[in-house]
Amino acid sequence: MSELLVVQDLTVTFPTTRGPVDVVRGVSFAVGRDETVGIVGESGSGKSMTSLAIMGLLPKGATTRGSIRLNGTELLGRPDRELRRLRGDQMSMIFQDPLSSLNPYYTVGLQIEEMYRAHRGGTRKAAREVAIRALGHVGLPEPERRVDYYPHQFSGGQRQRVMIAMALVCEPALLIADEPTTALDVTVQAQILRLLAGLQRESGTGLVFITHDLAVISSIATRVLVMRRGEQVEYGTAEQIFAEPEHEYTRMLLESIPRIDDSLDDPPHGSLIGSPDDEVIL
């Protein structure tokens, strides 16, 4: 499998009043073409910062070290102008809350057209056809009509479909999905996961799937990176991580997941877990 994305020894540092803080420290992983890599971790683990570093979307003031190569090209240190050309074209990202990623004043069609024409040019009419096709492709019924809808006219799951349509309209090599199903109901989540897996198989896009939910990761990823407090805890195939975790923290995380197959009479969870005072306050 040839690697599409190679992240090596990535460190992200933020300046604070108490001096610089590394929010990501020495993280390395790779994503193959046609592969889904999961990044899991609890709050403050640095999983979202890792993805923002790849997209070149880190907040101002953050500095990066290490290397991020997409298709062999180094992304770190490239001017914003060039990254902007890559974003949406070579790499795209979808977020947890589609409502805050869509402009409420424009129809979704217009927003997809804008995105498409920014990278591919062409007439508005042609772009509209592309938008309609993209909306149909993500399973929205009657895309010819929905293309003229505003974001608020869609349900949460439909909005996430719109975001996916927009992210994939230029057929990027890499898609980063940051908690894309976290805000959705469980039945809708199942639909979106199926959709993402299907689209990925079809188009061969490399997918980075970020979540706090290990069960979701296990159903979609081939390789998994476990993060904690900015550090890489463990990285391996899904089977290794879930069946033969090496690290104590990974085992603890897996023990903590509530299982639908366990009942009240089973031994309590969290027997490996320390006291509440062990929690970090960020």
């Binding site: 509530p258 009942s263 969290g270 929690e279």
Partner: protein, 270 residues
């Protein structure tokens, strides 16, 4: 012993359109259930199922449009004044976001002493001690009683919310998505805490949640809601292992699971 009885609870919301057109929406439609003393009834459903509206009605934070609510053998549907105060001394709520339900300008001690003052529970001189005991019961360090909510992590803050609910020694604690916002390792700890507290004190929970796997860890009985109605209610084991309703089955099937083979291999290794 039946602690709480909801009979045909209904909540309709009326809205007016721009031209004054009346639109009616039934959020909860003739919902009936009972809660026994010492048991946990979980109410599960997806967004818009009416579970939170149900929680608000049985917490008396919202009046039902129709139906009756009985607590401890007393009709409390329209309870006011002294009767309502009596109800509040027995029924407490733990909300999803501890930081928005705890006063950020009050110390933990003050937060935990407030219900004691309102309900005239512990005598004046002993309230401080009582607050510290509550902190110990929920696994917090009583030496931190003069800290403010912002100085605690999410899981610790939720423990403060639980301690506050326990301050009046309630018979019923309503948990509205009380562990939904917590990281999975912290969530496991808080669930274990909730179970321990019930074992120790024998009160009841109405546990509102969207996460069925979490519900399985805590519920004795489960009510599944969809579109304002209870579609299935029964012992947890039955609802999870032998669901009768089509919607319950869909809901259970949609839950992402870790390959059981992987789980088995992991457990054998450790």
């Amino acid at each position: 012993m039946t602690l709480l009885r909801a009979e045909s609870l209904t909540k309709r919301f009326v809205s007016r359109g721009p031209l004054g057109a009346r639109a009616e929406f039934t959020a909860v439609d003739q919902v009936s259930f009972e809660v026994q003393l010492g048991e946990t009834l979980a109410v599960v459903g997806e967004s818009g199922s009416g579970k939170s509206t149900t929680a608000r009605m049985i917490a008396k934070l919202m009046d039902p449009t129709a139906g009756t609510l009985e607590f401890d053998g007393e009709d409390v549907t329209h309870a006011k004044g002294a009767a309502l105060a009596r109800f509040r001394a027995n029924v407490q709520v733990v909300f999803q976001d501890p930081f928005s339900s705890l006063n950020p300008r009050h110390t933990v001690e003050r937060i935990l002493m407030a219900p004691l003052v309102y309900q005239g529970i512990a005598p004046k001189g002993s309230r401080r001690e009582h607050a510290k005991e509550l902190m110990e019961r929920v696994g917090l360090n009583p030496d931190h009683s003069l800290r403010y909510p912002a100085q605690f992590s999410g899981g610790q803050a939720q423990r403060i919310g639980i301690a506050r609910a326990l301050a009046v020694n309630p018979k019923l604690v309503i948990c509205d998505e009380a562990v939904s916002a917590l990281d999975v390792s912290v969530q496991a700890q808080v669930i274990e805490l909730l179970r321990r507290l019930q074992r120790e004190s024998g009160f009841s929970y109405v546990f509102i949640a969207h996460d069925l796997a979490v519900v399985r860890q805590i519920a004795h009985r489960v009510a599944v809601m969809s579109k304002g109605r209870i579609v299935e209610i029964g012992p947890a084991r039955q609802v999870f292992d032998d669901p009768q309703d089509e919607y319950t089955r869909t809901l259970l099937a949609a839950i992402p699971r870790i390959d059981p083979e992987w789980d088995r291999r992991r457990r054998e290794r450790s």
